[in-house]
């Protein structure tokens, strides 16, 4: 169950319309390392997670990723708010505009639509948490790539906040992975899959 809170986690107050910037940051909505992918990854993985506390962490981080998705969408929305067809053409946003006008649709910066194949829910705690650690690092790199080319301070402030959150999530997933290991065979973490080989876990 989720309840909506009618505010953004970090404020977005963009004063200058810029479809070009929108076409880049939309990748953090529907791109391979974007916030939609992040939230669906964590919220999908939690059901089979053998450690209840780690399931709780996946719920809380997955929920925060939904709020991050909303921040990115708010930025794209404001960057294209008063866009004309000519603005879209001049900014190279015209191909997106043809199919979606100025609505939000999850896609990567290069135009590839969002795809569930961009994340994994493997059913093995070590594999999934290692994927989560990598996902946070990949998202960090994407934010750094965006910050290298975007100069508008109104856009940079939320991107900087979102980049910092990737570091915190990475830290928390690292702690969760260490805790999972304490429940496993210390001589061989791969002796059994703690999400599946339940009989072996009891011994």
């Amino acid at each position: 169950m989720w309840n909506y809170e009618k505010r953004l986690q970090f404020p977005v107050q963009i004063k200058t319309c810029c479809p070009k910037t929108a076409s880049l940051i939309i990748s953090q909505f529907g791109g391979p390392d974007g916030e939609l992918s992040a939230s669906m990854r964590y919220l999908s993985q939690r059901y089979s997670m053998p450690c209840r506390k780690t399931g709780g962490l996946l719920t809380d981080i997955g929920t925060e990723e939904l709020a991050h998705m909303e921040i990115i969408c708010a930025m794209v929305c404001q960057l294209t708010k008063n866009m004309t067809a000519e603005d879209a053409r001049a900014a190279g946003f015209d191909a997106y505009y043809v199919d979606h006008t100025s609505a939000l649709w999850p896609a990567a910066a290069a135009g590839i639509p969002f795809n569930a194949c961009e994340f994994q829910s493997k059913g093995d705690a070590i594999a999934d948490l290692t994927e989560d650690l990598a996902a946070e690092q990949k998202a960090r790199v994407t934010y750094e790539n965006l910050l290298r080319i975007i100069t508008d301070p109104d856009v940079r402030a939320p991107l900087t906040f979102l980049r910092a959150r990737e570091l915190v999530h990475f830290q928390r997933f690292g702690e969760a992975l260490e805790r999972i290991k304490t429940d496993l065979d210390s001589r061989n973490f791969y002796y059994f899959n703690s999400e599946f080989d339940r009989d072996l876990k009891k011994t």
């Binding site: 309840n3 909506y4 809170e5 009618k6 505010r7 953004l8 986690q9 970090f10 404020p11 977005v12 107050q13 963009i14 004063k15 319309c17 506390k53 709780g56 962490l57 809380d60 981080i61 925060e64 909303e70 969408c73 708010a74 929305c77 404001q78 708010k81 008063n82 109104d154 915190v168 999530h169 928390r172 702690e175 969760a176 805790r179």
Partner: protein, 88 residues
């Protein structure tokens, strides 16, 4: 009375404190400093949400009940959407 922007900023800040603290507590559930910090911050957020609802409308559906319920009008969809921002 505080203006809408500065009250919302206070809510954003205290809520972020609690979000970040929640993730920390998820992996450190027995940390005494974090537990007492949570107990100190959570009531402050609740009070600010109530103050905001009284002045500018509810940020959650639960805020409606906490401020005496509805009169003749459903207030939840009043006011700007969170994503509208600076270009209105």
């Amino acid at each position: 009375m505080k203006d809408r922007t500065s009250l919302l900023k206070e809510i954003d800040e205290i809520s972020f404190t609690l979000n970040d603290l929640t993730l920390y507590l998820d992996t450190h559930p027995d940390c005494p400093e974090a537990v007492s910090y949570f107990n100190a911050m959570a009531p402050r957020r609740a009070a600010l949400l109530k103050e905001y609802a009284e002045a500018f409308g509810p940020l959650t559906v639960d805020c409606i009940q906490q401020n005496g319920g509805l009169t003749d009008h459903f207030t939840w969809t009043d006011g700007p959407a969170p994503w509208e921002g600076g270009i209105l």
